[in-house]
Subunit: 147 residues, 2 copies
């Protein structure tokens, strides 16, 4: 069983968001932003196809929503959980937000920020690989269905 408020607990919530994206025909990536006292500040999923907007990644929406909720553009003492390693655009947005921690699921060796060369803020901790098999198999299954 998954312990409440563990990284796996919140990543499972992000995976639920990714499944909503899957059902809408979107590349299945989901995100959740959580405060230090374990409040959910934002939940989102990729909507680039439905919105015709390359900026509508799960992370960008979650950052905007959490900042709006907090009334502050800095996401201090917050953690982002996202099912896929952020791209350089999202890494850049997370950089500006000075978010305290980033936890991602699957690696993205093609378009992830580590490959593309983006940077996260020196104040930000980052951990990858949480529920990575579940996160990556959802994406694989999406692209297999597309073929």
């Amino acid at each position: 069983m998954t312990a409440i408020f563990s990284d796996e607990y919140f990543m499972q919530m992000a995976l639920n968001e990714a499944r909503i994206a899957y059902d809408k025909g979107e590349i299945p990536v989901g995100a959740v932003i959580v405060s230090a006292d374990n409040r959910i500040l934002a939940k989102s999923h990729n909507l680039t196809e439905l919105l015709n907007d390359v900026t509508a990644h799960a992370e960008i929406q979650a950052i905007s929503a959490a900042a709006n909720f907090l009334g502050s553009k800095y996401l201090k003492n917050c953690t982002l959980f996202v099912t896929l390693e952020p791209c350089q655009m999202c890494a850049g947005a997370l950089y500006w937000s000075q978010i305290t921690r980033i936890v991602y699921g699957a690696e993205d060796p093609k378009r992830g920020f580590k490959t593309m060369g983006g940077q996260i803020h020196p104040k930000t901790q980052i951990n990858g690989g949480i529920l990575k098999e579940k996160c990556s198999s959802l994406i694989k299954s999406f692209f297999e269905k597309k073929r």
Copy 2:
């Protein structure tokens, strides 16, 4: 005199947007997206302070607005004019948009994508330095006033 539809002509339009940002107390950066037949698809300026949102850079807003106007997330045959070298977030968004051309004014040696390590799409042409003195002196004057 500035020739109509030249790079300087559209950069002057982006500078007018930057001045609107300046008057709102925002770091003065402006952007314009133009189609191949010289139609203005989007005009925008930085709104990160007013919107409490680190993603509200001029470029991100212009990309979303132009894609919404075109009904396509790909900005093919479009040119972005922006008064400051894009950051890694905006370079990432421009990468995904596959925009045909990027024209920027002043360099950003601290937070520009060339320093931070971001990439633009191999299909995208990029030119810097158009009206760079005007673009950078507006930003300098903003920070001098702040002190």
